[in-house]
Amino acid sequence: MNFDWSVVWRNADAVAEGTKLTILLAVTTMAIAIPGGIVLALMRLSGVRVLSSLSACFVELFRNLPLILVIYTAYYVLPVATGFSLSPITTAIVALSLNVSAYNGETFRAGIASIRQGQSEAAYALGMTRWQATREIVLPQAVRRVLPVLASTWVSLFKDTSLVSVISVGELAYTSMRIRAQTYRVLEMLTAMAAIYWLLGYPQAKLVDWINRRYAVNE
């Protein structure tokens, strides 16, 4: 068995580009999914029947579908539904955002619900409006409480970006597998891919553990 690891160095530029796109996909998706999740949670808790059932349906649907299927479906359905063809990267961000927004929606809902009723009642007693009480009293406390969960969702998202390789978005997994197919250096490229994910993911997993300890709820 002879392995030629130089193939990794010869393709270092392409791999670096793929890694950059992986990070970009995760950042963009989270930037969309945090406001998305907050909106979903507020809709769910708004007390307006239509809004809360819409939000519940959205969350339950995307929490109960394999992400890879959502990605494929988005790839085929979005061009037909919107009438113009979207780039694979846009499609990927849409599919990932749908998935992560649903998870964040549930996270924020649980976070807001975990803030005791007395907090908003006290705010009303002080003459605050419902919106003021939500924005100034409940949300700041809820955000602190959901931070550990958001951090775990981030790590999952970072790993899940690899799934968009199936619709040929040139991120790390796709790039590595493409080079593998071109050079036949299967073990070298796949191991390099795993190593890069590991190098990026391991510190994140450790950071999540730290955030979990730091922000643990003690009541």
């Binding site: 929490r63 299927l69 959502v70 790993k159 891919m193 994910y197």
Partner: protein
């Protein structure tokens, strides 16, 4: 837009076989992950100290590498190392188990460490052996606390088996891709696939929620 569901109906037997494989792969993965993950989790809590280092490394590595990468590596690269090519189904079982067992181990460890040290000390004070304490005092309480997390492991596993389509395990996702490609009706085929996965997964998450609400009081101390 005209929707034509006949390709799905025409290949229902082909798709049903795929669904059976999805369920079989999910079931075997859960079984193997619970066994392996349980053993790793307990070994981390009660095993010799030197063993904890490689176990922590294994668990944290699996938490930081995507399941797709583990699948692809197991199927394409592992044969070059060990010299044996695994059929796709078994490669998927090995890869999914490797990944999900790490999550199970983490759940078991968190459950066991959440039981206060006073419980163990009280058991020792009553003259119980270490094994007795673990079996009759710690684990029953810890298991209740682990239940909701095990529930989400169920749905995570079923969802992750869809990724095995990438290494051509002929399960439901893979079969849907085949039908979609041959019939040129991807929208209908994938819509049906979404409905099928939802119908399987939604009751799983619901039942887990209900069981948890029923059992939650047992976990309180």
């Amino acid at each position: 837009m005209d929707l034509d569901y006949s390709p799905v109906l025409d290949s229902w037997r082909f798709l049903l076989n795929g669904l059976e494989l999805t369920l079989a792969l999910s079931f075997l993965t859960i079984l193997c992950s619970l066994t392996l993950g349980g053993a790793i989790g307990l070994a981390r809590c009660y095993g010799p100290r030197w063993l904890a280092v490689p176990l922590v490394f294994y668990v944290d590595s699996m938490r930081s590498v995507p399941v797709l990468v583990v699948l692809v590596w197991t199927y394409f690269a592992l044969p070059l190392v060990i010299g044996v090519t695994l059929p796709p189904f078994w490669a998927a079982l090995v890869a999914l188990t490797a990944q999900i067992a790490a999550y199970v181990a983490e759940i078991v460890r968190a459950g066991v460490t959440s039981i206060r040290a006073g419980q163990t000390r009280a058991a020792f004070a009553l003259g119980m052996s270490r094994a007795q304490t673990i079996r009759t005092i710690v684990l029953p309480q810890a298991l209740v606390r682990m239940l909701p997390a095990f529930g989400s492991i169920l749905s995570i596993t079923i969802k992750d088996t869809a990724i095995a389509a990438v290494i051509a395990v002929p399960e439901y996702m893979n079969r849907s891709q085949t039908v979609a490609g041959q019939s040129f009706h991807p929208i209908e085929v994938f819509t049906v696939a979404m409905a099928v996965y939802f119908v399987i997964l939604f009751p799983v998450t619901r039942v887990v929620d209900i069981v948890y609400v029923r059992l939650a009081h047992l976990g309180r101390l």
